[in-house]
């Protein structure tokens, strides 16, 4: 049968096989969708708008007409014969790079000093004079700059070949703790050496290409991690890794994603991938293990122990990365099985251990990772927040992309909203969900347990009832169908609110549990560093009003954006970074929240808005009668 697929103003007709789901049909139209959960109907990122025809879903059949378009998950829907079927793909559901897939880090390095260095190889004037071997010739060149140097077999053979070539005039190496790791020989006329920073997330891989001598960022690129086809979360990746050949397969998948990104980076920067000679990889511990081909099995169950925390230096060749074959690949050390190199990178770029007083660092993604530094101890933990703040798993959730509502205010009888790119609203991203909860609670339209006052909303024309698994569920209208991008209203249901409450409770309870273990409270904090893409665009005051973050003066909160990528870049351009990673490893004290008595009580207390003990947010609640003030969004400064 023929199915019409629409995107923007364009239409394509696809011949579909019987029983084929709409996400596959969209892929045939060359518009692949975000089936982040592997097409299992879990992540909600492949939503499409059914415009006409009959469709079969998981539980029921649906009929759509142009006057009654229906929103549905493409991976759960098949078109039925007999009627012309047509559906539209919202831009937000396409599997393409998002402009906001956060490569931005708000902290810039003060000084850039490449850890990759090179020196001229001087052939002796008298060939019979000392030194006595090619390698010693190279060593003498390097020892002008470093205390000690190590030659692996690759460097030895490369130098041997290089010295045989008339154009190999330089020797290069990377420096780690005053020690040089020889790379190889290189022509002085070859392209400028480049560095690559890679942040491997369970969902997204973010990369940056940088010119090593200057520290200039040449390009950013990001994409979904191809391992998504093997499960959406870290635990399911471990399970996949435990099958025969699983580790190699998962390594192959993520390598494919990284290599594709490298190609994109090089095309957009007009450079050759062979010039990439230093790669720094960060990410959660499981992703780092899989990228290096190490089994992550131990992280999947008690005692959650990784194979290694301080990863050995490797050649790119060994990992199959499409960069200079002798490039050095370094992975930022992981603090524990649950707290990966991404947090080490966050902490390094934020200079956490250099700070005086008591500091929290919170990185909010699918997991919320929390570090607490009190000048002596670095307590660290991970808490399962779920994907609600990434816009996934909600009826109208979407990632922070064009058309996503990112700011909201309740105006007495309707929501006033701002969307990314000023487009018509297509869905809600995490920051809008936080705003909605805060505004509804303040207007008295949502109680402390997350129930909507449907009668009051109805009087204002803002109530709607949706059906979920056959049951009616109350919802509030954020943008009515006539204003929205796809002719269906953008709503937030009580089920969505419950998901957001679980997420915010997990983060808040994690924070409070760590503080409690250290015998202090929010009032004792000197500051809170917020990392991660979600934190970058969050209305901080609203995050406190709903009890996601503890009550703190706004000036005590620093938003650093993608600190993981920033920290990986720092690994390329700050010779002190590896020593700092090692220091973090030494002081880190991983805490298992499920073993802390306080955690569960605190979690249930934190499910309420703002909290079972609202006096913890007393200052904020008292000042809510005054008009809220918000710092203007800080302009993003890239690391250069």
């Amino acid at each position: 049968m023929i199915v019409t697929v629409r995107l923007g103003g364009e239409r394509r007709e696809v011949v579909a096989d019987p029983g084929e789901t709409l996400d596959r049909i969209a892929a045939r139209a060359d518009w692949p969708l975000n089936t982040v959960c592997g097409g299992r109907g879990r992540c909600g990122r492949c939503a499409v708008v059914l415009q006409s025809g009959h469709f079969r879903g998981r539980n029921a059949e649906l009929t759509a007409e142009p006057s009654h378009p229906r929103r549905a998950l493409a991976c759960q829907m098949t078109p039925l014969e007999g009627t012309p079927c047509e559906f539209e793909i919202p831009a937000s559901s396409r599997r393409i790079e998002s402009g906001r897939m956060v490569a931005d880090c708000a902290i810039s390095l003060r000084v850039w000093k490449s850890r990759l260095q090179r020196a001229p190889l001087r052939r002796p004037a008298d060939p019979l004079g000392s030194p006595t071997s090619d390698v010693e010739l190279a060593r003498d060149a390097i020892l002008q700059y470093a205390d000690d140097v190590e030659f692996g077999i690759e460097a030895v053979s490369e130098i041997a070949m290089g010295l045989g070539r008339p154009d190999a005039s330089d020797v290069w190496w990377i420096e780690r703790d005053g020690r040089a790791f020889a790379g190889g020989a290189r022509a002085a006329t070859a392209g400028q050496p480049l560095g690559l920073a890679v942040d491997i997330g369970t969902t997204t891989v973010v990369t940056a290409l940088v010119e090593l001598a200057s520290g200039r960022q040449l390009a950013n690129a990001s994409d979904y991690n191809a391992q998504l086809s093997r499960g959406a979360d870290v635990a399911s990746r471990i399970t996949a890794a435990e099958t025969p050949g699983g580790v190699a397969e998962l390594q192959r998948l993520v390598r494919g994603t990284i290599n594709e990104l490298i190609q994109r980076l090089c095309v957009s920067a007009g450079r050759s991938a062979d010039d990439i000679l230093h790669v720094v990889i960060t990410g959660n511990t499981v992703m780092q293990h899989l990228a290096l081909g190490l089994p992550p099995h131990g992280i999947g169950r008690i005692p959650f122990r990784p194979v290694v925390r301080r990863y050995p230096l490797l050649r790119a060749e060994r990992l199959g990365l499409a960069v200079g074959p002798l490039a050095w690949v370094e992975a930022v050390p992981s603090l524990s099985g649950h707290i990966g190199g991404d947090l080490t990178a966050d902490a390094t770029v934020a200079g956490l251990l250099q700070r005086r007083g008591r500091w929290l660092l919170v990185d909010i993604g699918t997991n919320g990772e929390i570090l607490f530094w009190d000048g002596h101890h670095l307590r660290c933990t991970a808490t399962a927040a779920g994907p609600a703040f990434e816009g996934a798993g909600l009826s109208c959730g979407m990632r922070a992309d064009e058309g996503a509502v990112e700011r909201l205010r309740w105006r007495g009888d309707h929501f006033e909203y701002e969307t990314i790119g000023g487009a018509r609203p297509a869905g809600l991203c995490g920051s809008a969900v936080v705003d909605a909860l805060a505004e509804l609670a303040q207007a008295g339209l949502m109680d402390s347990t997350g129930r909507l006052d449907t009668a009051a909303l109805d009087r204002r024309g803002a109530a709607v009832v949706i059906r979920q698994a056959g049951h009616p569920v109350h919802a509030v209208v954020i943008a009515p169908s006539e204003a929205s991008a796809h002719g269906v209203p953008v709503i937030l249901s009580e089920a969505d609110i419950a998901e957001a409450l679980k997420a915010k409770a997990a983060i808040h309870a994690g924070i409070m549990t760590l503080l409690h273990l250290a015998g202090c409270g929010p009032a004792d904090l000197d500051g809170l560093i917020l990392a991660g893409g979600f934190g970058r665009h969050l209305h901080l005051r609203n995050a406190m009003r709903i009890g996601l973050l503890p009550e703190l003066p706004l000036e005590c909160i620093e938003v650093i954006g993608n600190g993981a990528l920033g920290g990986a870049l720092q690994g390329l351009g700050d010779p002190a970074a590896p020593a700092e990673w090692d220091r973090l490893l030494r002081v880190a004290e991983p805490i298992e929240l499920n073993l802390c008595d306080k955690f569960e009580t605190e979690f249930v207390d934190s499910l309420l808005v703002p909290h079972a003990d609202p006096t913890r947010f007393a200052r904020l609640l008292a000042s809510d009668s005054a008009p809220p003030t918000q710092r203007p969004p800080s302009t993003s400064r890239h690391i250069v």
């Binding site: 435990e242 008690i302 997350g450 249930v604």
Partner: protein, 209 residues
């Protein structure tokens, strides 16, 4: 005695402080703890479970209600024991070996207590030996939870251990668990969520709902 409306509302609404205050007042005036439990508190908790299944309320509201119920039970339990009040049945529950996830399992335990069961809570990282001891101590059903795909295979180890032991019912649940998995390992029951858990235990033990 009719149900105590204020107590019922306090439990259903998750108002822990009110539950405690009302119970203390009522007990001081000589009300029977068993009656407060069976006439008011158990029906209130059943209502919470049913509203959850109908998607009228969600996990946060159910958790808050369960905690209010738990606070009430803490007051009543010593008095009930003294008066010889019999629980409907005894079950044991634990998160399986290798897994430390507590909160979902605790919610199920609270819902079962709230439905009048005696619950032996074995905690997390529970191995066969601990389940075995609980069965020896009178548990008629073994409830297992796992939150990780990496730890759920241990459920089969436990199920295999109890296969053939007459009368012991194996009931499983947790985020990665499905009915298919329950069938595969030969479990007697699968609870999709904390609301369904009470019903599946009642069904497996042949108790009227």
């Amino acid at each position: 005695m009719a149900r105590h409306e204020a107590l019922y509302a306090a439990i259903a609404g998750g108002n822990k402080g009110a539950v405690e205050t009302i119970l203390q007042q009522e007990l001081a005036t000589g009300r029977s703890p068993a009656e407060l439990l069976t006439e008011t508190m158990i029906p209130a908790m059943r209502d919470v479970g049913e509203r959850y299944s109908r998607k009228e309320i969600f996990i946060p509201q159910m958790m808050i209600a369960a905690r209010a119920m738990d606070a009430g039970l803490r007051i009543l339990e010593p008095l009930l024991a003294k008066s010889g009040h019999e629980p409907r049945a005894t079950i044991c529950i634990g998160t399986v070996k290798g897994d430390l996830h507590d909160i979902g399992k605790n919610l199920v335990a609270m819902m079962l207590k709230g439905a009048g069961f005696h619950v032996i809570d074995l905690g997390t990282n529970v191995d066969v030996t601990k389940f075995e001891k609980a069965v020896h101590d009178g548990a008629q059903a073994v409830l297992m939870s796992a939150l990780l795909t990496t730890t759920m295979p241990y459920m089969k180890t436990v199920a295999d251990h109890f296969r053939g032991e007459k009368g012991v019912k194996i009931i499983i649940g947790g985020a990665p668990i499905t009915q298919e998995y329950a069938d595969e390992i030969g479990a007697h029951g699968y609870g999709e969520d904390a609301g369904a858990a009470v019903r599946v235990v009642e069904r497996c033990l042949g108790l009227a709902g």
